[in-house]
């Protein structure tokens, strides 16, 4: 007789993984036919899943217990960026000073506008600090958040919101503001919306995806290195 607990967790993984992959696949088909930002799979899929979780009176713990393996695949996906980055090495070698300036300006804008807008909205303390690293990818952001006195858990949520919102808004910006170079289009997504933005950039073009992936990684490293300095300034 197998352990009932084991069967329970196996069922949980099967159920929640099937729900997640199924809704994602469906949302992708819909987005392919009607490519509107509000039909973006990263927006539609979580809403549908949340409805199922709430309808079944399940909790986030139940859900993530069954789908954590999907989040873990973000690690191999990060490694996978080595291929497009290597294939675009000529472009990167030619334009690294431009990308570096873009990353510094973008990262500075992110921290300054987050701080200023949060102050304006009357948010302060750990909440405001948790907002500062939200435009870099989750593992880096949580590291920085802890360093500067924020709440890493909350930062993780803000990072994800930034990613979804950024991937959608990047499209809107590109539709209205003409950005001629693939280099700038990639940097827009990589600096502004980390992994989710990079995934979107990779769908727009191979160069855009490679630039976004590279910039995402470098901007994350840059922020981890700058965090002690920012912490000093905030004290």
């Amino acid at each position: 007789m197998p352990d009932p607990l084991l069967i329970d967790s196996a069922l949980r993984i099967l159920l929640w993984s099937a729900v997640t992959v199924g809704f994602y696949w469906g949302a992708k088909q819909i987005y392919r036919r009607w490519p509107r930002w509000w039909l973006s799979p990263l927006l539609v899929t979580p809403v549908l899943i949340a409805a199922v979780v709430l309808a079944l009176h399940a909790s986030y713990r139940d859900y993530i217990g069954g789908t954590h393996w999907l989040v873990l695949l973000l690690g191999p996906a990060t490694v996978a960026f080595a291929i497009p980055i290597y294939e675009q090495r000529g472009l990167i070698r030619r334009h690294w000073p431009v990308l570096l300036i873009g990353m510094l300006v973008g990262s500075g804008t992110s921290v300054l506008t987050s701080w200023a807008l949060a102050t304006l909205a009357g948010l302060d303390g750990a909440l405001r600090l948790s907002l500062l690293p939200r435009s870099i990818s989750t593992p880096f952001a949580m590291e920085v958040s802890g360093d500067i006195g924020g709440i890493p858990d909350l930062t993780a949520v803000f990072v994800v919101i930034t990613g979804i919102a950024g991937a959608a808004m990047g499209d809107i910006i590109l539709a209205r503001v003409p950005i001629a170079s693939a280099l700038a289009r990639g940097a827009l997504f990589g600096v502004g919306a980390h992994g989710a933005g990079t995934a979107r950039a990779a769908q727009i073009g191979e160069t855009e995806g490679a630039v976004a992936g590279l910039v995402m990684v470098l901007v994350g490293l840059l922020n981890v290195l700058a965090a002690p300095l920012v912490a000093q300034l905030l004290r």
Partner: protein
Amino acid sequence: MSSRTVTARATHVLRHSAPLQVGVVIGFWLAGEGIVRLFGLPLPGGIVGLVIVLALLASRRVRTRSMRRGAQWLLADMLLFFVPAVLAVLDHQELLGLTGLKILAVILVSTVSVMITTAFTVDRCYRWRADHAGSAPH
């Protein structure tokens, strides 16, 4: 069969199988995680794995062909891997009220600012360099 033909066959199979290549990528990620744990580095394991693969590609010890299909497969559906993390919002009910709206506004306005300043900075610098290098920007 000599060991050489076995290696050649294995390489051939690897170059045509996306699932096997995903396995190779996962292997490099695990190696990265291991190194991070071993040395207590303040970095995600995926980043260390990425640096290892880049180093192997640059020194021509590994060819892009042995990972290209697997990498494309992982990157094409990367958005799916973010979906479960989004549901963490369910655990933070305090974000559903006015505070949540304020935070959302801060995130939206800040993200648009970051995207526009970054894209414009890169675009301007790119054109400036292209003009000064004597070739027209494309």
